[in-house]
Amino acid sequence: MLTAPPTFRANIVIAAEGALVTELTHCGEGVTTVLSAADGVRLQDAIKSGGIQSGAKASFFSKRAPGAFLAIDSAGKLQELGWQKYSTLEMLSWSAQYLGLRPASASSSAPPAADRLSLHHQTT
């Protein structure tokens, strides 16, 4: 038997032209997602061209992914870079700034590269 999908109230916030997409933890009731100015324009155009007056159907989904990124530092150690917040490379520059301040001895607690690392999706 088919059941109706649950109904959510959702908010789409469009960033101003030239502004970075920033995370909103709360924006009124329901789910909130933020689009870049360019994506916002495309969405608005799509709504207008579709002749939709009262609303639109949108699909929100979460994709499960490892929350951490890894890099190998200049000493050959694996370093976790933490969680990505935005689809920019700024997290890499923040990590570089932070790791650059730490002397080599400070990273000795990091596991040597490939130690304890299991690769689940190897290709040949």
Binding site: E80, L81, G82, P103
Partner: protein, 364 residues
């Protein structure tokens, strides 16, 4: 943050900790006083021994506070520590804000890479009393493991003596409508520390105390500082958990130092804090920082804030950031205390009354 600088290190080794208390016998006070600067080094990791990954660290942020009580024996030091903590029990929402607090941190969202060098020169009097060499250190660190070191550096002879006496002013409290109540004190600072130049006049040196050879007679020899730790962090929204410890200190060579400390819980809301000393106001505000989109990310390049945490670590907060030590605010208030304290020859024997009041406003 340069942790490779030469320094005299006093570690608080892991083996010394029994639960959250470590008893340490500190080096001779004269040795520690020969340095002009003290910092607290803290390396943070997560409690689980097996995990090495960020994922196994606690997801939520909490305060960590390192405190100390010193006495002639470890038994007395521990009793003093217990009495202080008992006094604060249940009053503060998050660790920090008690008398004897040395340093405070806010843990990151699920990252295990924290390492901080936090200025603590203003706290040196708590560790440099000649009679009280047995110290009980206490840490409140839910879900985390800290490795602490006290780092002494600089030369007291070359750079100036560190503070030698500290007088607490205020401790923390909830940021409610009664937050400003009972925050006015009359303080009688010590007249002058019985510290004289080598070969000087001993305990009776003040007054009068002859100026040491080579000392610029026009340069004030006593200095009064106000210092405080302030962080608006806790689990209850709009609750400030201030830990104000203020101090009056007479340093060697007759410098006087007044320091104070405060803490609290505000997150994205700003607040303003005013210390009024004899009618002269000294104020600090988080206006323009708390609630800004990227306010805390600006401190990554200083090594203070751990980047790329699991939550909104980058957003500006009220005098604190996630994954960072809480800044120690220090101001020179010598001129506001009394002109007598700028007397280069320390000829005034009468105590000087100092009035300090702290007020906080919900600024946004």
């Amino acid at each position: 943050m340069n942790i490779s600088k030469p320094h005299f290190s006093v570690p608080i080794p892991a083996l010394a900790w029994h639960k959250n208390v470590a008893n340490i016998t500190l080096p001779d006070a004269a040795v520690l006083r020969s340095f002009s600067k003290m910092e607290v080094e803290n390396t943070l990791t997560c409690r689980d021994a097996e995990g090495r990954m960020d994922q196994s660290c606690p997801a939520w942020d909490h305060n960590i506070a390192l405190g100390v009580a010193c006495a002639p024996t470890h038994e007395e030091a521990f009793a003093l520590l217990q009495a202080r903590l008992l006094q604060e029990q249940g009053r503060l929402d998050e660790p920090g804000g008690f008398a004897g607090e040395l340093a405070r941190y806010v843990t990151p969202f699920r990252r295990r890479i924290g390492k901080w060098l936090t200025p603590a020169t203003d706290k040196m009097p708590m560790l440099t009393d000649t009679k009280n060499r047995s110290c009980s250190f206490h840490v409140q660190n839910p879900g985390w493991v800290n490795s602490f070191k006290l780092r002494f550096s600089g030369s007291a002879a070359a750079d100036g003596a560190p503070p030698t006496v500290t007088t607490p002013l205020f401790t923390g409290g909830g940021f409610t409508s009664t937050y400003n109540a009972n925050r006015t004190l009359m303080i009688t600072p010590p007249v002058c520390a019985p510290v004289c130049p080598a070969g000087g006049c001993g305990a009776a040196c003040c007054p009068p105390c002859p100026a040491p050879a080579g000392l610029d007679a026009g340069k004030p020899r006593r200095k009064v500082q106000l210092s405080f730790i302030l962080s608006g962090h806790g689990e209850l929204m709009l609750l400030l958990v201030p830990a104000v410890g203020a101090a009056v200190a007479t340093a060697s060579a007759d410098s006087l130092s007044l320091s104070a400390a405060a803490a609290g819980d505000m997150e994205f809301d700003a607040s303003t804090h005013v210390f009024d000393i004899n009618g002269v106001s000294f104020s600090w505000t988080s206006e323009g920082v708390a609630g800004t989109g990227m306010g805390c990310s600006k401190h990554v390049r200083e090594g203070r804030v751990q980047p790329n945490e699991h939550g909104t670590w980058y957003t500006g907060r009220n005098f604190w950031c996630n994954g960072a030590d809480v800044p120690v605010h220090v101001a020179d208030v010598t001129a506001a205390v009394n002109c007598e304290y700028a007397d280069p020859y320390c000829t005034e024997a009468s105590p000087v009354n100092v009035t300090v009041s702290s007020s906080s406003n919900h600024a946004s």
